[in-house]
């Protein structure tokens, strides 16, 4: 069985910088993979390459065995890749409910959306997502009036409502309080198994909570791969990223 998402020697060169350098990665269906690395290690750029936001200069991206290298973003999204950005990207002038309505449109084509409202099934699905992300109480609120944490959850909710096969989550706990971080870990844990998840994170407590497999990146390359114990004890990782003091 082919991997849910895989990259082969994926490379992108910006003038004077190779942001992602021959990265080969393979994430199995249903796996939760954490991408770890210092600032500038190329984690977000790797997500940009998978989701089509940035075009690669060499190598390939495969989603469920389909070669999607350098496809347009909306086509990659349609094949089942959902993306959560580091800075929450939601429809700010619309209500929470409206945001989720857009995300759960069954078809993405223009013509088939010239109708009104949603089916009962889709509405139930929205209710589920609201429940999962603890946003039921604020469903009629305009997104820009949400707190930062709620906005992050809303974006997570949008990606879930989209019902993709692969979730790319870029620092889902960025800027969150401890309790919000815990809540986010709960949400992500509940998604485990149902989706293939690739998540970029810095917060070690959070990583310990959710991680199975970790890929460590450094200066655009994959440095190490394995479970948390293997990564922690890896000498190269200690030297390059964690310093000699180890992971805290």
């Amino acid at each position: 069985m082919s991997a849910a998402v895989a990259t082969k020697d994926l490379t992108v060169q910006f003038p004077g910088l190779t942001a992602v350098d021959q990265v080969s990665l393979s994430v199995e269906t249903g796996e939760l993979r954490v991408l770890l690395g210092a600032n500038g290690a190329g984690k977000t750029t790797l997500m940009d390459l998978i989701s089509g936001k940035t075009k690669s200069t060499a190598g390939r991206v495969l989603v469920g065995g389909v070669d999607v290298t350098n496809w347009e973003e909306h086509r990659i999204a349609r094949i089942g890749v959902g993306r959560k950005f580091q800075i929450p990207s939601v429809f700010r002038e619309l209500t929470v409910q409206e945001n989720l309505t857009i995300a759960s449109c069954k078809s993405v084509s223009l013509v088939s959306n010239l109708g009104f409202g949603l089916s009962h099934r889709q509405q139930r699905r929205i209710d589920e997502v609201l429940d999962l992300t603890a946003l039921t109480g604020v469903r009629d609120r305009i997104a820009s009036d949400l707190s930062h944490g709620e906005m992050q959850w809303l974006e997570l909710g949008l990606v879930i409502a989209q019902n993709p096969k692969v979730l790319l989550l870029d620092e889902p706990t960025a800027g969150m309080t401890q309790s919000e971080t815990r809540k986010t870990a709960e949400i992500i844990k509940s998604l485990r198994g149902r989706y293939t998840i690739l998540v970029v994170e810095h917060d070690m407590a959070f990583i310990r909570e959710i991680a199975e497999q970790i890929t460590v990146m450094h200066l655009g390359r994959v440095l190490a791969e394995g479970d948390i114990a293997a990564v922690e004890s890896n000498e190269e990782v200690r030297a390059a990223y964690l310093g000699s003091k180890g992971i805290h």
Binding site: A77, S89, L94, Q97, N113, L114, D140
Partner: protein, 381 residues
């Protein structure tokens, strides 16, 4: 709550349609003609609100679509006019005769090198269809180019502005085709079946009022669809919409074209009411004035922008009849715009919205604690 909001919208739109339909009962012929002109401007307000308020595309060249609609119908009406030479095979507009070279054949095929473009306009229906089709087509092409390249914000505004200027130059330059600066005047009346639409007749007013109502209701329904909601999403965050799988340029182009079609229809109706088409429709100042109407009325409300256009024009008409205000008017409109931008970013419609929200909240609270107020009335937790 959401349902009640929807109902309130329905009542307000219904009330507006009712008011414009019964208004002629209290007006003399002169004011009926005037008001029909303002209703045409109201239609432009809808077009601006659709593209600016809902799609986030600030088109500073909406006059292009208005002008295209106007010229298309005016060409048909010019050929039908008694001022055109009607004796040969094809009618020939008077200005072509005046400017023709000695010995030129008085026929649209060859009186000058571009006159053949007028041939299909002998059929009035061709002008009527082209008046909507041409603006939509231009918008479709322009939109495809602009939105595929992911241009947004000020860049789109600047390009549309430059584009309308360019077309204005062309229209003025191509005098053999368009009669240049003078525009198209001395037109025939629009005739449908055996009925002639005299601009000072109530029938013409109703033609405009019904068209406006249909455009308003049609646009309101369109933005209420899922596609309309997706479009607003695109306005807020294009990257998010792309990541959800939506083909962003397709949505933008569609709504840009619909906005252009409404502006084209407005252009045609203006020709019926005012009986001329002129390159002044393509002036920058006109396109920008439309944006001001929509900003003052409330760009994120179709009805607000429409009422903004009508009200500002009514005030302008009244002001320009008072000698003291004649020169001051431009200053006043500028001031209104600045004040609206500073204090009413959502325009009159936004103000009305927050007032009604407040009333709603008070009313809900007034009904006692047994029924807890919901939604907007509830304080944030």
């Amino acid at each position: 709550m959401a349902l009640k909001r929807g109902h309130l919208d329905l009542i307000i739109y219904g009330a507006f349609v009712a008011v414009i339909l019964v208004a002629p009962l209290w007006l003399d012929d002169f004011w009926v003609n005037r008001l029909s002109k303002y209703l045409v401007y109201g239609m432009l307000g809808i077009a601006i609100s659709l593209s600016w308020g809902y799609a986030g595309i600030l088109n500073l060249g909406q006059g292009l679509f208005f002008g295209a609609g106007a010229y298309m119908l005016a060409m048909s009406l010019k050929l039908a006019s008694p001022t055109s030479l009607q004796s040969s095979d094809t009618p020939v507009p008077d200005f072509m005769l005046w400017n023709s070279e000695p010995g030129a054949v008085a026929n649209l095929c060859c009186i000058n090198r571009v006159s053949f473009l007028w041939i299909p306009f002998q059929h009035q229906w061709f002008g009527l269809i082209a008046g909507v089709a041409l603006p939509s087509l231009i918008a479709g092409l322009l939109g495809t180019v602009l939105f595929r390249r992911r241009l947004a914000g000020a860049f789109v505004s600047i390009i549309t502005l430059a584009f309308v200027l360019m077309i204005r130059l062309l229209v003025i330059e191509e005098q053999p085709l368009t009669n240049g600066f003078n525009g198209l005047t001395d037109l025939a009346l629009l005739t449908i079946g055996n009925f002639q639409f005299d601009p000072y007749d109530r029938a013409t007013y109703y033609l405009v009022a019904v068209s406006l109502s249909l455009a308003l209701i049609g646009a309101r329904l369109l933005v209420g669809t899922r596609a309309g909601l997706i479009l607003q999403g695109i306005r807020d965050d294009q990257a998010r919409a792309r990541c959800l799988g939506f083909n962003v340029p397709a949505f933008q182009t569609l709504f840009f074209s619909v906005s252009a079609a409404i502006a084209g229809l407005a252009g045609m109706l203006y020709v019926v009411v005012a009986q001329f088409a002129s390159p002044t429709f393509l002036d920058i100042s006109f396109s920008i004035t439309m944006v001001i109407w929509a900003a003052v009325g409330g760009r994120s409300s179709l009805l607000g922008a429409c009422i903004g256009a009508i009200v500002i024009n009514m005030i302008e008409a009244t002001a320009s009849e008072t000698a003291a205000l004649l020169d001051l008017w431009k200053v006043i409109i500028g001031l209104i715009f600045v004040l609206a931008v500073l204090f009413l970013p959502r325009g009159i419609a936004g103000l009305a919205g927050s007032v009604s929200d407040r009333l709603f909240a008070m009313w809900s609270r007034g009904r006692g604690q047994a029924e807890l107020p919901s939604g907007a009335a509830q304080p944030a937790e």
